[in-house]
Symmetry: C2
Subunit: 340 residues, 2 copies
């Protein structure tokens, strides 16, 4: 499969994906071919030997395919999260798009700050201000309307630093890793603090992760008839925050099994890695370290977004792999040609 | 596969199940062989033509495998629910087992009524009393401890009418139907008002439905370290009720796609069938009608458990199939020999 095919999946292929994966898993997947964007360093070696160990029939560390569950954080792990979470960029753009129907927003905080791009005033409002913006842009519509809105936005919005669509700022080495895991019988889940319906709007097309394998934060929905047609309406109420100690809770709620591989990038993923790697048998915990200012961004302990502090301190003694974006990844993003 | 193999799945086979299913789905599954416990009546004919229509490549009603989602209620649809929900039998047995550590229960309602088997006093306490018993027996332990407790109970408890283990009171025609659907590329989910962790304790072994395909009611859990080991602790708080209008909500939360087939048996399943069959393209809604006092139980509109009233009234005009247990099913339960 070419790199382009890996990112942009034709609809026709998607349906057959599960059968192809099953057939593929019957053949030993060659890691050298599978992970071309990973340098031949210790991170790649740990991944490959783990996957080989758990999928070798009769081996000491063999794990039945049904138990080969891998969980990936999304923001900062599968795609970029700077200079602000992409879902937050959606929120700010939606506030602008909705402003004509809400004249009071011109003078009312936090909407005024959002409309004026006043980051300082926004920050002063804290979590409460963000929640207000989130609810104004995420609730009141149906699940289908919300996903359409996200798809429309993704089709036109561009990242401020790279000028590319947000869905092209996914990490090429991770696309390869997810394909490699699936080819070896793994079921790959996303477990993110981001909104579950926001991610479902693109996860299947971009990552090959179907909606039923996306776990995230959610707002409550209510089933009702709208003009006689059933709909799920998104309410002004948080249902679940899939972050920090919420991640093992969300994993249990959706999957009901403990994963054997967890990949994150921030202290919001700490408990997910802790829960995963505390299980019996072979386990692998990994963290992306954003140390690549030239190709992406460099940040860790002191970042207000995606802070990685405790994870860096404890990775060594817990046996977690810290993946250096600068040293372990040959490429960060898919090539631009992939779009065409 | 023999009937026995269908019910009692050896652990060794389970791991390979997904690959076998993928291979099997490449061959046209013969309905005559697949549904031996269904009589050759209109219900079976509707099922078979629906499955053939959605899985015929190039056909007008073809549905991509990824969208072939089937949802089954559990109590009264996949196994018996009389004379009381099996999970409630677990609750009452647990109260008895836990009573020695709770001397106050001898005089305190609703525990006193539960210990004395005083159905009238229990009923007088209403939903509040049931909730109190549920919480006393379902919370405080870890998810793993709870599942062990359910498995231990299932291994020894016997149904009061049939004298068989509860997990043998599953409906043989439904086991065959789930196998038939999976052989035709469907992903089969359970969507039940019953407890998600209660069902996960046996769903994979008994139905071939893995934990990540079980949706149910839940209580909140909290991630914490117990003696330095991570655990998910079950709290004294309801998280979600997966019944009536909650079923489409639970389906969306877990699956993120609208099913194309829904099978229930009571008005608690009404909205699930409504949501499923209101979608575009081919859809199938089915209801088990418990009209077989000789082989199982006969009840519908006036039953306090599994009442089917509105569903009977509206099935015809909505195109839902009412499956008569008496007329459409040759056998109700797996043969007793299956246990050995």
């Amino acid at each position: 499969m070419t790199r382009a095919a890996r990112t942009i999946r034709p609809a026709a292929l998607r349906g057959a994906g599960w059968a192809l994966a099953a057939i593929a898993s019957a053949m030993p997947a060659l890691a050298r071919d599978a992970l071309p964007s990973w340098t031949d360093g210790p991170a790649r070696q740990r991944i490959v030997s783990f996957v080989q160990d758990v999928s070798a029939p009769g081996g000491r560390d063999f794990v039945a395919p049904a138990e080969r569950i891998a969980v990936f954080d999304n923001d900062g792990t599968l795609w970029t999260e700077q200079p602000l979470y992409f879902q937050l960029a959606y929120v700010l753009d939606r506030v602008k798009a909705m402003a004509p129907s809400h004249p009071d927003w011109q003078t009312k905080q936090p909407f005024k700050a959002a409309l004026e791009g006043d980051a300082r005033a926004l920050a002063a409002g804290g979590d409460h201000a963000l929640m207000e913006l989130l609810m104004a842009t995420h609730a009141g519509n149906t699940t289908e309307e919300f996903q359409s809105s996200v798809r429309d936005w993704l089709a036109t919005a561009r990242h401020p630093k790279f000028g590319r669509p947000y869905t092209e700022l996914v990490f090429q080495p991770q696309l390869e890793l997810m394909d490699y895991l699936r080819a070896n019988g793994f079921k790959v889940y996303i477990v993110s603090g981001g909104g579950i319906e926001f991610m479902r709007a693109f996860a299947e097309r971009v990552y090959g992760v179907p909606p039923e394998q996306v776990i995230g934060s959610s707002i409550r929905t209510r089933y009702e008839l709208r003009d006689g047609k059933p709909a799920l309406v998104r309410l002004l109420e948080i249902d679940f925050i899939d972050d920090k100690a919420g991640k093992p809770v969300g994993i249990n709620q959706h999957i009901g099994r403990r994963p054997i591989l967890a990949f994150g990038n921030s202290d919001g993923d700490f408990e997910m890695l802790e829960w995963t790697t505390a299980g019996a048998g072979p386990r692998l915990g990994l963290l992306v370290h954003h140390d690549d200012a030239a190709r992406e961004f460099a940040y860790d302990r002191d970042s207000s977004i995606g802070s990685l502090d405790r994870g860096l301190d404890e990775a060594g003694r817990r046996g977690w792999v810290v993946v250096s974006m600068r040293n372990d990844w040959r490429a960060v993003y898919p090539p631009v040609e992939a779009r065409n």
